[in-house]
């Protein structure tokens, strides 16, 4: 479980996260939806302890996120970002197993886990010896996913994980992520500005605008009972025009 209680963060005079409260139940997927600059990535960085909130409290599995507990908190979280943020000098396998190496796992245990995870994310084992530059965007993102899952953390935090992918690998990975999230029963927070992604993956969706929560609920809640005109505006902005839907 991840909770935010009345969290505020400002950069200079700019309020980036404005009194945000949120409870993400174990095993559910929370989508933070919003346009660029709405504060959704900052929320993630606050949870990871990469930033310190000006006020409010964040907990992960009941542990408040502070400088002293950060290590304990991070142990419970796997982190995936756009384009994977893989280390260019390490092979796919070395990238994926880095958390295990830092934790001092035996090579056998690491290799076993690596094989299993390759299967989970659908990466050909033959690609594991290649460097990131030799992989496609989708393959890189799968390796990033493997790295996040390496230590089998209860929670996953994903920052625009499919942002840089072409439409086909994107929809392919969306389906795969949905399956992984439900099979592994992870508590997931996923940031995106893609409405379709929110629809496919989200248990609940939190729509953010200018650092504030505009509305939180299921996709149906947002679509049918918008709390503000902005909700409808945001959801419909990405809907294909009627002519396009008809020709599809």
């Amino acid at each position: 479980m991840i909770t935010l209680h009345d969290v505020t963060k400002t950069f200079g005079s700019r309020v980036v996260v404005d009194h945000v409260s949120l409870v993400v139940a174990p095993g559910t997927t929370e989508i933070l939806l919003g346009s660029t600059g709405c504060g959704k990535s900052t929320v993630l960085r606050l949870i990871l302890g990469l930033l310190v909130p000006d006020s409010g409290e964040i907990t992960v599995d009941g542990v408040p996120v502070t400088a002293t507990t950060r290590d304990d908190v991070l142990r419970r979280i796997g982190y995936v970002v756009q384009e994977g943020a893989l280390y260019p000098h390490l092979t796919a396998a070395a990238n994926a197993t880095l958390p295990a190496r830092a934790d001092g796992w035996t090579p056998t245990r690491t290799a076993e886990r690596l094989g299993l995870l390759a299967e989970v994310v659908g990466l050909e084992p033959g690609l594991l010896g290649l460097y990131p530059a030799q992989l496609s965007g989708g393959q890189r993102q799968r390796v990033g996913m493997m790295r996040a899952l390496m230590l089998d953390p209860p929670a996953l935090i994903l920052d625009e994980p499919l942002g840089a992918l072409d439409p086909i690998s994107r929809s392919e990975l969306q389906t795969q992520l949905a399956r992984i999230f439900s099979e592994l029963r992870k508590t997931v927070i996923l940031v995106t500005h893609d409405v379709r992604e929110a629809f496919v993956l989200g248990t609940t969706i939190t729509l953010l605008n200018a650092g504030r929560i505009v509305q939180r609920g299921t996709f149906a809640d947002l679509a049918r009972r918008p709390a503000a005109p902005f909700v409808t505006e945001f959801l419909s902005a990405q809907t294909p025009p009627p002519e396009m839907r008809m020709s599809l």
């Binding site: 990871l48 991070l74 982190y79 943020a85 000098h89 880095l98 958390p99 790295r147």
Partner: protein, 504 residues
């Protein structure tokens, strides 16, 4: 005698054989220094040979040091015992009081510094004016004041002499000279210009070897304008106390024995006849044979191997120190921003100190020889290494840095697995720059007795001998190329495959 007894006897005999030369050389050596011009080398070589012949103590030659500041610094510091100096220089440059002239007065003023001087050796090395012998006899020129009667004579002076107040401007005022045609000319060309009749009067040093060759007449300084630059031996006061016989031998054989013409002839023997300093000095002392130590100059092939080794050691050691210090400093700068800026600024300032000055600063701290050279070279190699390490680490994609934090990598894991490999291309580029720079800068080490190829360059410059200069300069250039190639190889070992060739 039992077997055991024989063994002990043999051991005792061995000790006696091995011990004897140790005992003879147990007296601390007399360390003889010189500046890096022919006359200074020559007089130092004379001193060295006299000390050797007197047999009281061995000699250590530390010749060709960079200039008054460096040789004097080494003497005060206790790294030298004696070197040739000029009274004018002692007054002006060392005591900073040009009014002190007499030898007795100089000696009195040097005493509190723990130094002493010999009586004058007999020659002065000062500025002088020279004309062709034919001109002198035709116009009856004997002294500088005679020039007043001949304003039509054409003069060429060295650019330095032309500007310095103790040169032409002061001389003209002092003698009220009216020469109409005065030009600036490089010293090296003047003798030829004079002997070919292109000019009539030039400035010279009074003991220049070229004077004899071109059959020139030095005009007497009849109104005593030029300061007194009488050659003496400047020594630590402890030298005459420690080795009175040796000092007496130096006074007996050198003091008052070398007049200007003799010194000019000795200079010519080296500069013009291509003899070694040792040979020229031996010829003056009347020795028929010259020992091997003294012969060392100009045996280029043999010298080259030794200088190559010295140069490699200078470059390798200083570079290792610079890497060992510079990389951590660069990392520190990347971690702590304020400290980092301070650090980069101070390393940068260090780089603006001219290399020769930096070497000179080392003398009071570390004396002369290899150690100060290594310290100075290490400091000099620091900037590219610190700066590139800082740049390499601080420009790593912040998302990769965050990811390392989220993965809970410990400090050393982050450094060894992520930061150093990712910054390795940039760091290696800095080290390569430092290496090639150091090969060049290390040639200056010779000025403080650090050895290396610079020794040949300094000697060659003193002798105006292009072959000797090139014998030092060409191998240094070759070494720079070799070192570059070696580091390309090291780079292949260190930089991870996918990062190669991206930044270069």
């Amino acid at each position: 005698m039992t077997a055991r007894g024989r063994r002990w006897a043999a051991l005792a005999a061995l000790c006696a054989v091995v011990g004897a030369p140790v005992a003879a050389s147990a007296a601390p050596p007399v360390r003889v220094g010189s500046k890096s011009f022919t006359e200074s080398y020559l007089v130092a070589e004379l001193v060295a040979q006299v000390v050797e012949q007197s047999g009281q103590a061995p000699v250590e030659r530390k010749l060709g040091l960079g200039g008054t500041g460096m040789v004097y610094g080494a003497l005060v510091n206790g790294d030298l015992d004696v070197y040739p100096e000029y009274t004018g220089t002692i007054g002006r440059a060392i005591l900073k009081d040009p009014t002190v002239t007499g030898v007795a007065e100089l000696r009195r003023r040097l005493l509190p510094l723990g130094l002493t001087i010999s009586d004058p050796l007999g020659f002065d090395n000062t500025y002088a004016l020279a004309v062709r012998r034919e001109t002198a006899s035709r116009l009856g020129l004997r002294a500088i004041s005679d020039l007043r009667r001949h304003p039509e004579l054409r003069a060429s002076f060295d650019p330095g002499f032309l500007r310095r107040d103790d040169g032409w401007p002061g001389l003209r005022r002092h003698y009220d000279l009216g020469l109409a045609d005065v030009r600036s000319m490089e010293h090296a060309l003047m003798y030829r210009a004079l002997s070919s009749g292109g000019v009539d009067v030039i400035d010279v040093f009074s003991t220049d070897g070229q004077l004899a060759r071109f059959d020139l007449v030095v005009l007497a300084d009849d109104r005593h304008f030029f300061p007194d630059y009488a050659a003496v031996l400047l020594a630590r006061a402890s030298l005459p106390e420690r080795l009175p016989q040796t000092w007496a031998a130096l006074e007996r054989r050198l003091v008052g024995k070398i007049d200007g013409a003799t010194m000019a002839r000795l200079n010519a023997r080296v500069d013009l006849d291509g003899r070694t300093f040792a040979e020229a000095a031996a010829s003056f002392l009347g020795a028929s044979t010259v020992d091997d130590v003294g012969r060392s100059h100009r045996h280029l092939a043999r010298e080259l191997a030794r200088h190559t080794l010295e140069h490699v050691v200078l470059v390798a050691v200083s570079l290792m120190v610079a890497v060992a210090v510079g990389v951590p400093l660069g990392l520190l700068a990347a971690r702590r921003r304020l400290l980092g800026q301070l650090e980069l600024a101070s390393v940068g300032v260090l780089q603006t100190v001219p290399a020769l000055a930096l070497l000179a600063f080392m003398i009071p701290l570390f004396g002369i020889g290899k150690v100060p050279a290594l310290v100075a070279l290490s400091l000099y190699a620091l900037l590219p290494i610190v700066r590139n390490t800082y740049t390499g680490v601080s420009t790593i994609d912040p998302r990769l840095v965050d990811m390392a934090a989220v993965m809970r990598l410990r400090g050393w894991q982050r450094l060894a697995w992520i930061e150093l490999p990712l910054a390795s291309v940039t760091i290696m580029a800095g080290i390569k720059t430092a290496a090639v720079l150091t090969v060049g800068t290390a040639t200056l080490a010779a000025f403080i007795g650090g050895g290396g190829y610079g020794t040949l360059i300094v000697t060659g410059l003193a002798l105006n001998d292009v072959a000797t200069i090139l014998a030092g300069a060409i191998p240094a250039a070759v070494m720079a190329l070799v070192i570059h190639a070696v580091f390309e190889g090291i780079e292949r070992l260190i930089v991870p495959l996918p990062l190669r060739g991206r930044h270069v």
